[in-house]
């Protein structure tokens, strides 16, 4: 197996996967509870109206 050739394609692929998973983890940690209807103390726009 030519590792240099394999890494040439694996490297950019892994970067895109890391980026996507990072974004998905932010969505899960910071927004998923709000989206599900919870959200604890988080105050969305219009909550005071």
């Amino acid at each position: 197996m030519n590792m240099a050739a394999l890494l040439s394609f694996l490297h950019p692929m892994i970067v895109m996967v890391i980026c996507g998973i990072w974004v998905l983890s932010i969505l899960k940690s910071d927004y998923s509870e709000l989206v599900k209807g919870g959200g604890g103390d988080a105050q969305v726009k219009g909550d005071n109206n």
Partner: protein, 533 residues
Amino acid sequence: MAVATFWIILILVIVTAFMVNRYVKSSSDYYVMGKKGETIGITGVLTASYLSAVTFVGIAGIEYLNGPPIFLICYGSWIGMVCGFIYVGRRLRAYGAITMPDYLQERFGTSVRIIATVILIVGLLGYGVVQLMGAGVLLSSVTGISYNIVIIVFAIALITFCAVAGMYSVVIVNTLLLATILVACFILAPIMIKLGGGFDGLTNGLMNIDPNFWSAGGRKFHMPTGWTVGQFVLWALFFPAAPWIAGMALPCKNDFVLMRAICWSTLITTVGVVTLFLGCSAMFLVNPNIAPADQVFIWACKNSVHPILGGLGIAGVMAAILSSGATIFMGAGFGLSRDLYERYIMSKGGTLDDRKKIVLARIAQVVVGVIVVIFALSKPLAIYWISAWAGALFATAWLPTLIAGFEYKKATRAGVIAGMLCGAGSYILLYQCVKKWKLFTLPFNLDPVIFGIIVSFVAILIVSSLGKAKEEDMAVYTRVKGIGLAEGTIQTMTRGEIVKEYLTTKTTAWVCIIVAVVVLGLLAIRIVPAVSG
């Protein structure tokens, strides 16, 4: 064709800048587009800023002579861009910064901000001069117009479009220019691969000439493994602190725009750069005698495709040069006007209304432009030294300072100043000893910037541990740490809007992952077995 493309692009850029000028009504509009940047605009400006002339000219030539792996393996700027945008940019945006030094003023006070801003301006000016001189040499040889005229005309276009509408014109113009970059990567590069014999040419064709075409060190350069590792680390650490990457998070309308923009930009730059470099390598099979080699892409545009497509390809190269130059000019100009002069006036008890701030920012852009043009035309010896250090200054001085600000509560002002000065100073000293004076070599051929970063972190830790952080600095750390990075977005959107944006962003992330895995996976399946064994 090349001359017409040159003038059309410059006129388009200037006209567009004047057209968007009407949107600039406040200094916030000028500096960060009023924080109204949408996904397409931020994707455009981030991608176009990332892909500079270095990609289409310098590294493209290295790929042509050495084969695809030499830079595809060590292209650490991909992960650097992701970290710069999500880790650094997202924090700066959430903390309400208008420019990068804004955060340092809040966290560590005036002295740190001034030193960091001076380093920022010197680094950006050095980098800007390099970009402009590179553009001058390249476009002069392509168009036949003299170097001095190219420099002056190009700089006038850059100054105009940065000064007229600030971030507005940079985002909108770069988004328009992105179209030509996409043509270069996704239409022209595949045509270049086909001209070189398609996958068979890329694999068997290149391997028959020299098996080292598919080696990590390259066919011609035979670079050692230490160089590959060093280059990867260098770019991966340089980009997170590069103002033209993290700074592009500041105009984002909200957190979701920021996340979608980095997904699309990462997809375009990873798949696009791989395709581009495969195309440049394939051109060796079409003509192995292109000289200078770094004009391989332009040679292909002029000699191998339909003139209209070739013109678009050359426009893509110009777009890459213009977009990187613009974000660099803008960063230096903003540093001069907002982070030095405006702050100085305010510290003296003076006030500036919004109109004056915009005028000031425009004057700063012109000053920066004139300085860069003078350097680019006169080419003083010192500029070669400054330009050699320019990029590394961000990695050695800014990156450790930003990380200390985000993560190290007990970091003192003296500690971060020592970190910046020791990091930048040790890098410059090592660079001169190793690369200029050839006094010794570093272990594994690693780049001096890696040692500069280590020295900077060590200096921050040691000096901070010798003193005590100011209560006000630790209070800012605690307050800032307590700000949820999503809080600003949540407070400005209704629950319904959040749900919609959440689902769109989640879909975007998955689509980008799947497209990258499928496209790059198919390329790997098609190419790797054919060049193994």
